[in-house]
């Protein structure tokens, strides 16, 4: 068996490999997926390219297909599980075996974050580049992470979060790691396309992809100043207005009242099944969570982008987005004493209305 270590893999080979993996994932065929990936390896695609240019894009595509309602939740989970198994098998392949020659690092997902695959891919890339990697997995409670740091004393923590609503938890984790003297490199979609939230939450640095993480680690991350007695509120002085705290604490009441008010103002809701009603409550809770998160990081874009995305998701599933605009209105009327929250709601609402892609059905009956 010949395994190429060339740094410039053949793009055509990679494309073939990617297409074959994708069709295997669609069919939920684990063996076909493994065959595609391992044949690519043996044809000379380097292990890192398999991870970053074959598996990572296919996983991103899974998310897009789900959002467009072309893949079910089950198919999404099957595809993810297959990718995870393929990655695990890759680590045992001769092309994926590397003796560690660098220091130790810890890779973890923020508590509440279940999307472990990006962190898993990162762990494997770093392992291939000779780092000793402790992959702590999805949903790592901050106390477990800190205990791990005290026990193992790694060079850095690589903290992953995909969903923005985990940013407040991520902030707590970042602060705790830095206070324990370990630099934190943040990554994942939650921190924004340009990593802006990583910086505002006080992380040592942010990286867009695994290769950048490896470069930053190789250059050496500065240890946080151990003598600085840092208080988390210093990162986010706007939290002093307590809007985040109060909205996060009264979330259930806010959802209940919004639901009741929505029922009065949105006639089709009166014919909702209990299941539809439950989904509506969950949607409102999501809006409240994103609103709270946008207040936490003080960023309009985070909330507007979520509302735009949700409108797209609802449209793809034939649910009238008018209910979303109405939800924002109702929340606005409930949050009279919260100027920052109201500004967020109003601007997100503006973005929603003129969008010609969101149909408002005449009778408003949900599909």
């Amino acid at each position: 068996m010949t395994v190429s270590t060339s740094l410039r893999p053949d793009q055509r080979l990679i494309r073939t490999c990617r297409e074959e993996l994708w069709s295997a994932l669609r069919d939920g065929d684990e063996h076909a997926a493994a065959t595609a990936v391992f044949a690519g390896l043996e044809d000379g695609v380097p292990a890192e390219a398999v991870l970053m240019e074959v598996i990572a894009p296919s996983q991103a595509r899974v998310g897009q297909e789900w959002a467009a309602n072309r893949m079910t939740v089950a198919q999404e989970h099957v595809a993810t599980a297959i990718n995870e198994r393929v990655i695990a098998a890759l680590a045992h392949h001769p092309a994926g075996r590397v003796e560690p020659r660098h220091a130790r690092v810890a890779v973890a997902c923020v508590e509440g974050e279940w999307h472990a695959l990006p962190a898993r891919l990162l762990s494997e890339v770093l392992r291939l580049r000779g780092w000793r990697v402790d992959f702590l997995g999805a949903h790592v409670p901050t106390p477990h992470l800190i205990a791990h740091l005290h026990r193992t004393g790694p060079e850095a923590v690589l903290l992953s979060a995909s969903i923005p609503t985990h940013l407040p938890t991520a902030h707590a984790a970042i602060t705790a790691c830095m206070a324990a003297g370990v630099p934190v490199l943040a990554g994942g979609a939650a921190f924004g396309a340009d990593g802006r939230y990583a910086r505002s939450l006080g992380a040592s640095d942010w990286a867009a992809d695994a290769a950048t993480v490896a470069e930053l680690l190789a250059a050496g991350l500065p240890r946080p100043d151990p003598t600085a007695m840092h208080h988390p509120i210093e990162d986010l002085p706007h939290l002093a207005d307590q809007e985040y705290t109060m909205i996060a604490q009264s979330r259930s009441r806010l959802v209940k009242e919004t639901l009741a008010e929505l029922e009065e103002r949105f006639l089709p809701m009166r014919e909702y099944s209990s299941r539809q009603r439950r989904h509506t409550a969950e949607d409102i809770a999501h809006v409240a969570d994103y609103l709270a998160t946008a207040l936490y990081v003080d960023d309009q874009e985070l909330f507007t982008a979520f509302i735009g995305w949700t409108a797209g998701i609802l449209t793809a599933r034939g649910v009238p987005a008018r209910s979303l605009a109405l939800t924002l209105d109702v929340l606005d009327s409930q949050l009279k004493d919260f100027p920052r929250a109201r500004a967020l709601l109003e601007r997100a609402g503006h973005g929603l209305r003129p969008d010609p892609h969101i149909p408002v059905p005449g009778n408003g009956k949900p599909a």
Partner: protein, 552 residues
């Protein structure tokens, strides 16, 4: 009347006043000629006599101040009549001028020595306090021994000396060593050393009896102590023991280069204060490391195992303890693989009344007992009866509920025998998404003498899953409205979407939904085990190796 001259009586009266003043006073004319001194001034300036020039016999600082004053040049602090100051002999004086209209100046000298000394002492004391506070903050931040040594070396190398070396207590001749020069990065390693080769080192490393810190001759310091950047330039070396709360804490070696002032006694006392803090932090870190390694060892048996495919049956498990910082609790699961493909594997999932470590210890006992009863696994009722008796006879007053599931792969799917002992019945998701409850029920174990149970037989086709779960899942409170139970109907609905999923995807989905339902709220221990008939065999390095080349 001549008013241009001061009446001779004036100065004389003045003289009479200040001649006996307790402060030294010097009168000089505009040009700097000394007119007169009082007794106190003669005492401290015996070489100055009336008629002398200030710049010839008085201290330079006073002569300069006089000259500046006469020429109207403002002194450094901006005012021409502000006090000047300087040394006279061993003491320090402040000189306050008063001028008469003729330009004669009376210099009042105030002994300032003690105030300056006090100010100096206060400043250095403040600096030290600030450094010690800073050092304490830094040392408290980590409970990792290596990190603690790193911080100690860094602080010492930047604040106390030019370089610092820490030798930790070792095993035999091998000692972990951390060193740092100035602001350079810390280097860490292990040295094999003869501690008696360096004077004072072995005593300091032993930690008992207490030894003071001591200076040693740089020439007698062995080569390994001197960092490369300092070779040939070391002027002084001090060895200070790091006090270690009952155990040897190691040694802090401070080095100063020859062009830097050597250590004063004061600096050495200060180094000892720092060493006390560093030693305390290091021993706390060592104790934490020791405790955490004990915990890890003891916990290993209590942690839920990681599951995988066994003899053509896919098993996956997920666990979340109730306490945020806990890893174990009163829920448990296990899979005991059958000896070969024809033998049943036994999956167990259960829930001991109670939470936390105490409950976890009991789960360990139940798991051990079941393990010992494995040869009887073909009769679930008998197994449960024996477990029940064992629990009744133990001193634990707790009871448990559990599910036993024996699984064997047949050609078309997996055949299961499932028995519940007082536990929520497992749910089965069929290939078409229908969800059924396994028809099994029975009494919990550890309470009654006689227990009864009924076993259900279930066949799982490819892609079908049997889910064992604890009530921590169904009774999880939260949701969008905050106070609802997750409930069995939600679990069934979620499971309905799991047809065709691999076992770990089912487990992850259920765990994720329950965790999101709970949000940041409190919850009980949660455990899930999925048993699934997989599509093909497991992915292993072996099967992958045999995949061979694909495009034939």
């Amino acid at each position: 009347m001549d008013t241009s001259k001061t009446s001779p009586a004036g100065p004389r009266e003045l003289r009479a006043t200040w001649a006996s003043a307790p402060y030294p006073v010097v009168l000089a004319d505009r040009a700097g000629g000394v007119i007169e001194l009082n007794d106190a001034a003669s005492c401290i300036l015996p070489e100055v006599r009336p008629g002398d020039w200030l710049h010839e016999s008085a201290p330079n600082w006073l002569a300069d101040a006089h000259q500046r004053l006469s020429r109207g040049i403002p002194s450094q602090n901006g005012s021409s009549s502000a006090p000047a100051g300087g040394r006279i002999g061993e003491r320090v004086y402040e000189a306050h001028p008063t001028r008469d209209p003729d330009g004669d100046v009376v210099w009042w000298l105030v002994d300032d020595t003690d105030r300056r000394l006090a100010e100096e002492a206060l400043r250095s004391e403040r600096e030290r306090t600030a450094f010690l506070a800073e050092a304490s903050n830094a040392l408290l931040s980590s409970l990792n021994v290596d990190r603690c040594m790193e911080v100690t070396a860094q602080l010492a190398a930047t604040h106390l000396a030019d370089a610092a070396v820490i030798v930790a207590p070792g095993k035999g001749r091998r000692h972990p060593m951390t060193s740092c020069v100035g602001e350079n990065p810390v280097s860490r390693g292990t040295v094999e050393i003869d501690t008696s080769a360096m004077p004072g080192l072995s005593e300091a490393l032993q930690g008992f009896p207490p030894v003071p810190s001591r200076w040693i001759d740089p020439a007698s310091a062995p080569e390994w102590v001197i960092p490369e950047e300092m070779r040939g330039s070391v002027g002084s070396v001090v060895i200070t023991p790091l006090p270690g709360h009952g155990l040897p804490g190691g040694v802090l070696i401070l080095l100063r280069s020859a062009d830097h002032t050597a250590f004063t006694e004061d600096a050495e006392i200060f180094a000892r204060l720092f060493a006390a803090r560093a030693g305390a932090a290091l021993s706390a870190a060592r104790m934490y490391a020791e405790q955490s390694s004990i915990t890890t060892t003891l916990m290993r048996e209590l942690l839920p195992p990681s599951l995988h495919q066994v003899n053509g049956v896919e098993f996956a498990g997920g666990y979340r303890a109730s306490g945020q910082s806990e890893r174990v609790g009163g829920d448990f699961y296990d899979v005991h693989p059958g000896a070969d493909a024809d033998q049943e594997s036994l999956a167990v999932l259960g829930d001991v009344c109670g939470k936390g470590l105490e409950a976890a210890v009991l789960t360990g006992k139940i798991r051990n007992t079941l393990h010992a009863l494995l040869p009887l696994a073909d009769d679930h009722q008998r197994m449960l009866r024996l477990l029940n008796t064992a629990l009744l006879n133990s001193h634990h007053t707790r009871f448990a509920t559990l599910v036993l599931a024996s699984a064997v792969r047949l050609e078309r799917g997996v055949r299961l025998r499932v028995t519940s002992a007082g536990h929520p019945a497992p749910l089965v998701v069929r290939a078409d998404g229908t969800v059924e409850e396994a028809e099994t029920h029975g009494s919990l174990v550890g309470v009654l003498r006689d227990i009864k149970s009924a076993t259900a037989a279930i066949d799982l086709a490819v892609g079908e899953t049997c889910l064992l779960f604890t009530d921590g899942i169904t009774e999880a409170r939260g949701g969008p409205l905050g106070d609802e139970m997750f409930g069995e109907s939600r679990l069934r609905e979620a499971l309905g979407e799991c047809a065709g999923m691999p076992a770990e995807a089912v487990v992850e989905r259920v765990q994720m939904l329950a965790a999101q339902w709970v949000g940041r709220g409190r919850h009980d221990d949660m455990a899930v085990v999925a048993i699934t008939t997989p599509r093909g065999g497991p992915l292993t390095a072996m099967t992958l190796g045999s995949l061979g080349r694909r495009r034939a």
